[in-house]
């Protein structure tokens, strides 16, 4: 037993516990010019919560994460629903399933960059609108703002939500739906009285995943975001790479981890309460 547990324990220690401990160690210290000085002070944490732009950007990142979670859920639900109930078992279903997964074969960077070529002033949408004469100047509100960041994040993370909701819908036995139909329920009633309540934990689980991924993202804001849509991870990168303020970066990192842990704990608790035992 211990033999099999040794590799994961080792992995967890080397790549999780030790880095977290180091993060904590750094966060308590300070920087003198470019030299790290160990210490035991909460100054960095106080700074995170009292100095702009840190807290503001963190809240904005949370807002973008929340938007992404909501958009992906709305987009994912119908797809998961079709996959679970309308796709005939066999080839058609496998094909649909493939379509959901295929985007993962492409690199994240490529996908984020693709949106730049779609939304940009020389991008697909603007060219199309210009050529058809609907507009005379390129639309600039499409790219380099919060909207384009949320759109890109939603596009990239939707498959997570689809699979999460699908796994929940798939558990619903056909006999439940037939039973409800047999008792005289309409399609809509079957959906909101039976199917939807059972699928809520799946939506929630998907939303937690997409929120967490979007919240900590730094590529989309860098590629398609504007000056006002930088996210907290971009700030961490700048603190590390440009400002050499590792202690502050570590403090922000720990705050983010703390927030994420709190969120997941609460979500898990709600999920468990809402999970329907079949």
């Amino acid at each position: 037993m211990l033999f099999w547990l040794a590799p994961p324990i080792l992995w967890f220690t080397v790549f999780m516990l030790v880095p977290y401990a180091m993060l904590f160690y750094y966060s308590l210290g300070s920087v003198n010019y470019v030299t790290f000085e160990p210490g035991f002070s909460a100054a960095n944490f106080i700074k995170v919560f009292t100095t702009q732009p840190y807290l503001g950007v963190m809240l904005k990142s949370a807002k973008l994460g929340l938007m992404t979670a909501i958009f992906t859920s709305i987009l994912a639900y119908p797809v998961a629903f079709c996959l679970a109930f309308y796709a005939p078992a066999g080839r058609a279903k496998n094909f649909l399933y493939m379509l959901v997964i295929v985007p993962w074969w492409a690199s994240y960077l490529v996908k984020a960059y693709a949106w730049k070529t779609i939304l940009g002033s020389h991008g697909l949408i603007n060219q199309l609108l210009l050529n058809t004469g609907i507009i005379s100047h390129p639309l600039t509100f499409l790219l380099y703002n919060e909207f384009s960041v949320a759109l890109t994040l939603t596009y990239i993370f939707t498959p997570f939500a689809i699979l999460s909701i699908y796994s929940q819908l798939e558990r619903i036995p056909v006999s439940l739906i037939e039973g409800a139909r047999d008792l005289g329920a309409t399609g809509w009633q079957i959906f909101y009285k039976i199917v939807f309540p059972i699928s809520v934990p799946g939506i929630l689980a998907g939303a937690v995943i997409t929120f967490s991924l979007a919240f900590g993202d730094f590529i989309s804001p860098a590629l398609v975001g504007g000056p006002n849509s930088i996210m907290i991870s971009n700030i961490v990168i700048n603190l590390l790479g440009r400002a050499f303020d590792w202690p502050l970066a570590a403090a922000i990192g720990l705050v983010i981890i703390g927030m994420a842990t709190a969120l997941i704990t609460v979500a898990n608790h709600i999920e468990r309460r809402l999970t329907v035992r079949l």
């Binding site: 037939e178 039973g179 005289g184 329920a185 009285k193 329907v276």
Partner: protein, 370 residues
């Protein structure tokens, strides 16, 4: 007959083209209103598909289903005055017992609007009917199999359908509970006077509860009759062997008139048996003997009355079943074996290896042509 259910040449094929398999093949049934009909057969015989066709969950490839005198072949599930009790109960897991039972009254296609006091009153009434003593606030996963079964039944009955369909509802219950539920179902059937159509592979269940049994095999109804008929007068080898412990001896018809047939068994016993089915001379037929009608005695001991069929055999197996003893005897000088049930109260017992004579009264046999 017009108030009942009629199936006319109903065929249901699954798959397409050359791969199509007829799960239900030319089924004809007449179910009178208020009857307890059981569709009996092994798994894959088409009984569940037949039930789903009647319910409207499947539509037939060809043929016609009539209900209360009108053609309902293409009428959707919700518009047939029938309710189904599913094999897995299909209780809504996100609702408690009360809401499950009340479901049919609250959905929009309920026959009329019920006030909430009326809903509670009816739910209580039907929970009483199925004798569910648990709190109606319990969730389905907190109930035992038997309790879930009762909830499913109450949920189906509360909308007062004229037909209730059961898809092997007792399959997942243990033997004792199954017996109790059988008695329960029969009581409820009598009390409500609705048509019950019940699918099972359990012949005891079928014999005990039904007014009519349709024995199915390979998508066809092989025999349709009262439990007594299908047990005592099976019309083919399949029905004879599927229901009860039946033995079939190979025989050749030597001559026959309308009432009697002279047959020869493989051990050269020649005698007359009732011609329960029209026979032709020279025809090979099966002679059915129910396990409980044969008698065993020691080899060469005094025989019974004249005309009794006697075959010699060796006891190969002895199973004590409590109320009776089951002997498996191997026929001497011909292939095959017989299963024979002797009441455990009988004094004479036999051991494995004993040579015995098996006596069968001709009137206890039936000729099976098919």
């Amino acid at each position: 007959m017009s108030s009942g259910i009629e199936l006319r040449d109903v065929v249901k094929s699954f798959g397409q083209g050359g791969d199509a398999v007829a799960a239900v093949n030319s089924v004809n049934l007449d179910v009178e209103h208020g009857q307890f009909l059981t569709l009996l057969g092994a798994s894959g015989c088409g009984k569940t598909t037949t039930l789903r066709l009647i319910a409207g969950f499947e539509s037939p490839t060809s043929g016609e289903i009539r209900f209360q005198g009108r053609n309902v072949t293409d009428v959707p599930v919700t518009h047939r005055d029938m309710r189904m009790v599913f094999q897995d109960y299909a209780l809504f897991p996100n609702m408690n017992v009360f809401d499950n039972v009340a479901f049919g009254l609250r959905v929009s296609r309920a026959r009329r609007r019920y006030s909430s006091t009326e809903v509670s009153r009816r739910v209580r009434e039907y929970l009483d009917l199925v004798q569910l003593s648990e709190q109606p606030t319990r969730m389905p996963h907190q109930l035992s199999g038997g309790q879930r079964q009762r909830v499913a039944l109450a949920r189906a009955l509360i909308t007062d359908p004229s037909v209730v369909l059961f898809d092997e509802p007792l399959g997942s219950l243990d033997a004792k509970l199954r017996k109790a539920m059988q008695v329960e179902l029969k009581r409820i059937h009598k009390e409500l006077g609705k048509t019950f159509i019940y699918v099972t592979h359990d012949q005891e269940e079928a014999l005990g509860m039904s007014d009519r049994i349709a024995v199915m095999n390979a998508g066809r109804v092989r025999q349709y009759g009262s439990p007594e008929e299908v047990y005592r007068e099976p019309n083919c080898r399949f029905v004879a062997s599927f229901i009860g412990a039946a033995n079939v001896l190979e025989a050749k018809v030597e001559s026959g008139n309308g009432n009697e047939a002279q047959i020869r068994l493989k051990n050269d016993w020649v005698g007359k048996v009732p011609a329960t089915t029209p026979v032709r001379s020279g025809e090979n037929v099966g002679l059915m003997i129910r396990a409980e009608t044969a008698r065993l005695r020691r080899e060469n001991s005094a025989s019974g009355a004249d005309g009794v069929i006697t075959v010699r055999a060796t006891v190969a197996e002895r199973l004590f079943l409590g109320d009776r003893i089951e002997y498996h005897v191997e026929l001497t000088g011909q292939g095959g074996d017989l299963r024979i049930h002797i009441p455990a109260t009988e004094a004479e017992e036999f051991d494995v290896g004993d040579s015995v004579d098996v006596d069968i009264r001709p009137e206890d046999t039936r000729i099976l042509a098919d």
